[in-house]
């Protein structure tokens, strides 16, 4: 998704704000430098790493990424605002991404989405008050052979029926994937119990 106007008149970053990126996150971003000819090209990986570490890409983080990649902050905002997967406001610990493209729609996707909205009490791009779930829809997730499908963080749920939703949401491991993970884009962050006890974002 693409061309959305963003209010750029409101100051979004305080001059005396605390730094958002830890040294470890910066180091992770720097590890991508020798993959590309320009520092700008590190921007997409950098935003992935930042979002992974902080949960979203805050304005303050964008300013710091800009400094790290020697870019004007406006370039970072320009890129970050183009892509649907970067959240510029806090999101829940788990993001549910429901496919809304043709196969999933004709196979019953809208009823699944409605059920999730009902159970969580939130709409698209909203977050539950406990900070556990955010909800969004996306165009084709390339899982049409088992539509309706949806992602919970990285985990693909296949052939979901409205009646399955409660069970899926109740499962604490509903975002665990079967494959061995690569930590390339993972940033050092709170995991496990620490994350569960942390105050909800936003």
């Amino acid at each position: 998704m693409a061309w959305k106007a963003i209010d750029r008149n409101t100051p979004v970053v305080g001059a005396d704000a605390e730094p958002a990126l830890s040294e470890a996150v910066r180091e992770k971003i720097r590890s991508f430098f020798d993959r590309y000819e320009t520092k700008r090209a590190v921007l997409l990986p950098a935003l992935h790493v930042v979002q992974d570490a902080l949960g979203h890409v805050s304005w303050q983080a964008m300013v710091e990424v800009a400094a790290l990649l020697e870019l004007p902050p406006s370039d970072v905002i320009d890129t970050a605002s183009f892509y649907t997967q970067y959240w510029t406001h806090p999101k829940g610990r788990k993001v549910i991404t429901v496919c809304r493209s043709l196969t999933c729609e004709v196979m019953g996707g809208p009823a699944v989405l409605a059920e999730i909205k009902k159970q969580l009490g939130i709409g698209e791009h909203e977050t539950t008050p406990d900070g556990n779930y955010s909800l969004m829809t996306e165009e084709c997730l390339a899982g049409c052979d088992h539509g309706p499908c949806m992602l919970i963080n990285e985990k693909m749920h296949k052939c979901v029926k409205p009646a399955d939703v409660a069970k899926i949401l109740a499962d604490p491991d509903n975002d665990r994937i079967d494959s061995e993970r690569s930590d390339l884009f993972d940033a050092p962050r709170m995991t496990g119990d620490a994350a569960r006890k942390a105050p909800p974002p936003g």
Partner: protein, 436 residues
């Protein structure tokens, strides 16, 4: 003849642990690349030209010819593998990457060697998470084995291979949108010429090829161009992946020569397995939504590079079919497709940005039950006035938007008109009522 088809690209699917390097090698993997590295890059390009390997990403441009456009006196070349796969309802690249990542990597090494690229970027759409982990693990394995990195297979040639992850944007599948996205920018396609072969990523000569195109290459090297050119019809050579989804018994990704028909893809026991009980075909999008729609009477269309044009479609596209069943309201289909393009236009070209948005608004109004008969003509009129074909846009996205809208309105006009006439007069309010 199609019955005796032996899968090539999918031969490792279903094999236990098929993503592991040693399993891939035990089944004959990484033989082709060893053979290729003994040949000259020119010889490999010739072989790929002779095989007439046409791009699997949608446009069908011959891969060897594309490589031949690289300037001969270049110093740096980059290879980009297009794994953006965002065209609904396509998932064949996903299957290739999650089931047989080493086949892709072997293809990458050969294609990079043939084009003398020292860096290969595999552009992976942001929604591919498990596929990323699987592919990255395979790349790591290939590095450890000495198949990637400095002096691959102990020879003089070196190649770095990186995955570049996108973050949600259909237009990044367009090759110059992809290039911009690798450079860390919005995925806004570039005006061509210059074509990527002359000026691509970081202004360097760049080759962009689809995941399936690249996955074919080891087999061309190993079995020879004649073998490849002998599979399927004359201008549509080689094994090809077909996706089928919707209310069929066995939705999935199947491999065949390009001589099968849409009907076979739906009905054959070793493919779609027929419609689910009590379901009947109303319409099929045979090549990804952007190619346009077929009616139930048009299922004898051949899934090759030429026949779709005879049915008013844009082309073979991604060869991914979705079946719409008899009980689905065509207005829902119209709105879904219009929304896709309305939200995925990058917004650089006025007629694409505005036209796709209008079509979405009008289609929504119709689907909400507040349509007007003249809306159908407004849709056709809008569709005719956007895209690369009339020379109005930078990339092909609006052409992909016009074909489904035009074919739905033309081929299902009476159903749409009936639905509009059956609307209870003046009682349905649509948020889009005011839009002209």
């Amino acid at each position: 003849m199609a019955d005796s088809f032996e899968p090539v690209l999918l031969r490792n699917v279903g094999v236990e642990n098929s993503t592991a390097l040693k399993v891939y090698e035990s089944r004959g993997g990484y033989r082709a690349v060893r053979q290729a590295l003994k040949q000259t890059p020119g010889e490999i390009t010739e072989e790929v030209k002779k095989a007439n390997l046409r791009g699997r990403g949608g446009a069908g441009f011959p891969a060897g010819v594309k490589w031949g456009f690289l300037p001969p006196n270049r110093t740096v070349t980059l290879l980009c593998v297009n794994g953006d796969e965002s065209e609904p309802p396509t998932f064949s690249n996903r299957v290739l990457m999650e089931k047989d990542p080493h086949q892709l990597i072997e293809g990458v090494i050969i294609a990079a060697y043939a084009t003398q690229a020292r860096i290969a970027y595999i552009y992976l759409r942001g929604e591919f998470h498990e596929q990323f982990h699987i592919l990255q693990k395979a790349i790591d394995e290939a590095y450890v084995a000495g198949y990637l990195g400095k002096r691959v297979f102990g020879g003089d040639y070196s190649l770095e291979c990186y995955i570049h992850r996108g973050a949600g944007a259909y237009v990044c599948g367009e090759e110059t949108g992809l290039i911009e996205s690798i450079e860390g920018k919005r995925g806004c396609p570039r005006i061509k010429p210059p074509f990527p072969a002359v000026e691509g990523v970081f202004h360097r000569p760049t080759v962009v090829n689809n995941v399936e195109t690249i996955s074919c290459i080891p087999h061309i090297i190993e079995r020879g161009a004649e073998w490849f050119a002998g599979v399927g019809p004359q201008h549509s050579t080689g094994p090809k992946l077909f996706c089928i989804s919707g209310p069929v018994n066995k939705p999935g990704c199947y491999e065949a020569a390009m001589d099968i028909t849409v009907r076979e893809l739906i009905e054959r026991e070793d493919m779609g397995g027929g419609m689910q009980p009590a379901r009947k075909v109303k319409a099929v999008f045979p090549g990804g939504v952007s190619m346009g729609v077929l009616t139930a009477d048009e299922l004898d269309m051949k899934m090759d590079f030429d026949d779709p044009q005879h049915y008013g479609l844009l082309g073979l596209g991604t060869a991914a079919a979705v079946v719409i069943d008899q009980d689905t309201d065509i207005r829902i289909v119209l709105r879904n497709v219009a929304r896709f393009f309305g939200t995925e236009s990058c917004g650089q070209c006025t007629q694409c940005r505005e036209g796709t948005a209008w079509m979405y608004k009008i289609a929504s109004r119709i689907a909400d039950g507040a349509g007007r008969i003249e809306d159908l003509d407004i849709l056709l009129d809008t569709a005719r006035n956007m895209g690369m074909m009339p020379g109005l846009s930078i990339c092909g996205l609006p052409d992909g938007a016009t074909y489904p809208i035009e074919t739905i309105v033309k081929k299902f006009r009476s159903e749409l008109e009936d639905a509009i006439r059956a609307q209870p007069d003046g009682r349905v309010e649509s948020a889009m009522s005011a839009v002209n």
